[in-house]
């Protein structure tokens, strides 16, 4: 198995999260921008997530956990597949000591390419079954539109890492996320298939820490700035209509419809006996 190991480093330190970030990280972005644009979204993550230092970590910068993508692949065939991502949770044990009780979750933000969508109701069902702790799709989640008439979407999934993860008990823990995704009808082409490539997701760890007087949440963002992308980039070849078929298909479709209609009309006239009697008598 090819190993896609992305050494992630903490780029955005940790901080107390504003109330709007207690839920989905992406939600405020879509409230502001409405649709997904990579550059806007990265700017949003870098500048608009309201961060402040998390007191308990002020002198323990190295204690921030790291999430590494071990492997990514598409499972299944056809228009309905699963995007599988294995994530490793790492922590520098030596830098963490005397931390108060805390609870952590891994957050993966999957920016889906054009032509691919996740069904928000399917995500809800997975939530109901307890597969994810929290999951939601943002952006254009219309399930029916073809690629050419739709915008991109994003899925944010929260996975449970557990309690007191930063004290090192979960060091090296692996978790796997499978996201059900679906292909839209792609634009027409000459090749018969449309190529869809997936980028890398954004990873976060969020920990809730119980302080003496009050609780606080800290978010850690992992980026792929030091990533070594190995050869298995994810590509989905989606069957597409062939432009060359257009005139033949249209012509024969209408000819078939008309022939079929005419044959029904002729048989109806010939075999509706009481109507024939009508006309004879009148």
């Amino acid at each position: 198995m090819e190993l896609l190991l992305l050494k992630v480093r903490i780029c955005l330190v940790f901080g107390t999260i504003a109330s709007s970030f207690q839920g989905y990280i992406s939600e405020p972005y879509f409230e502001k921008y409405g649709s997904l644009h990579d550059s806007y979204f990265q700017d949003f993550l870098a500048h608009e997530v309201p961060l402040g230092l998390c007191e308990v970590f002020q002198n323990k910068i190295n204690s921030a956990p790291k999430l590494s993508i071990l492997h990514r692949r598409l499972i299944g065939e056809g228009s309905h597949r699963r995007l599988s991502t294995s994530i490793q949770f790492e922590i520098y044990q030596e830098s963490v000591s005397n931390l108060p009780d805390h609870y952590c979750e891994a957050i993966i933000i999957e920016k889906l390419p054009s032509g691919v969508f996740a069904d928000p109701f399917e995500l809800q069902d997975l939530l109901y079954r307890g597969v994810y702790m929290k999951a939601s799709a943002f952006g254009d989640t219309n399930l029916e539109l073809p690629s050419i008439q739709s915008n991109r979407s994003l899925v944010e999934i929260h996975m449970d890492i557990g309690s007191n993860a930063l004290t090192g008990s979960k060091h090296g823990m692996e978790t796997k996320i499978e996201l059900p995704i679906h292909a839209r009808y792609p634009p027409l082409g000459d090749r018969g298939y449309s190529r869809t490539e997936f980028g890398l997701p954004d990873l976060f760890t969020r920990c809730s820490i119980k302080g003496k007087s009050s609780s606080q949440s800290c978010i850690f963002m992992s980026t792929d700035s030091t990533a070594k992308v190995i050869d298995d980039s994810i590509v989905w070849e989606v069957p597409s209509g062939n432009k060359k078929h257009a005139s033949t298909v249209s012509f024969l479709t209408f000819v078939s419809a008309i022939l079929s209609a005419l044959s029904i009309v002729l048989v109806s006239i010939r075999h509706s006996n009481f109507e024939t009697d009508d006309s004879k008598q009148s």
């Binding site: 065939e77 298939y193 078929h245 024969l252 419809a257 109806s268 006996n273 009508d278």
Partner: protein, 438 residues
Amino acid sequence: MKRVDFRFIILFSAFLRIFLIIYGEWQDTHMEVRYTDVDYFVFSDAAALVVSGVSPYKRSTYRYSPLIAYLLTPNSIVHRSWGKVLFSISDLLVGYFIRSILKLQGVSDEICIYSVMVWLFNPFTFTIGTRGNCEPIICAMVLWIILCLLKGKLLQAAFWYGLVVHLRIYPIIYALPIVLALEPCNFQSGKRLILRKWSSRDIKAAQRSSTKNVSDLVQKLGVIARLLTKERIQFGLLSGTVFFFFTGIFFYLYELEFLHEALLYHLTRTDPRHNFSIYFYHIYLHYEREFSLPEKLVSFLPQVIVQLVLISRFRKDLPFCFFLQTVAFVAFNKVITAQYFVWFFCLLPLILPWSNMKPKQGLVCISLWVGAQTHWLLWGYLLEFKGKQVFLCLWVASLLFLAANTFVLICVITHHTCSPLFRPLEHVNRTKSAKYKQ
């Protein structure tokens, strides 16, 4: 004895449906592929929204009248299978209505039971209700309308007709044949109607006596007077009022969202994704641009022509006309999904007693229709679940399915014994023995 047989069939069908509902719950919980129809989750979500005081249209892909969501509110309060039970009861009601309609026309108990079995034991239909599809409610309403008409209950028929068109737009295709069937010589509200008798299928005599009266009427009253009868006006006004009443209420409650999702979407729907319709690939290949008006008209023309011809030729045999119209409507529609087949499956038992098709010919028709559908499903599977580029083959399979539909329709027409559903009221005095005792 026969009555017991019918009860046994209904009971057995009820148990079968209860078993399937329970099995569905188990499969949904334990297997990756769910038994429950995706639409059922849509209905349930919409119903849950209604319970929490939110518009059902906040659930994307909910494209039905809010009444369906209202009916399913116990899904959130009582049990999530409530809707399936409701749809399955409607499914059983369809069986009961089939028997009632056939009995009114003097069809023998034995043939009635066979006809009912064609609906109740059709694997396609008993899975539709238990998987949570709402179509059995629509089917039951359509059959109830026919039953009301047969019993001369015009106002009831009009009420339910307005309601069913509000719930599902497609029964609008029955408006013209119903109105035309309300000929004053055959149908007068409050009077006992004379129905055709299956046992004495003296078609020619019945037709001649019927047509003679119609011809006389035309000469006497003229075309316009003949069209604007009291019954027709009553039916049109009441059904229209009911339709606009419900549409108006829901427009007031849910505004444009309701109009767009529940009505306009169905009228303007052109789906580029693969479905049984011959038009799907043509639509996909031209989806990047708007269709011109002539293009839209050309694709609409076969449907209109066939509907008009079927109505003009078979309107007197109302159940048969409904059946042919529905098969043709589905076959020429721009979008065809498997659930649409239930629309004519519920009417099939009503025409079987008047068919002189031999079992072998029937088997050929069934094999051809099922074969063409299976062939299409094979290509559909390769495209959707294997990711193979088989659009062209799938489109050819759609053409073959249309050909199979056409062949079956032609066979059904050529083997049907046409007889007017209503016999002239004047005929009562002459043939009192044939009078139906309500």
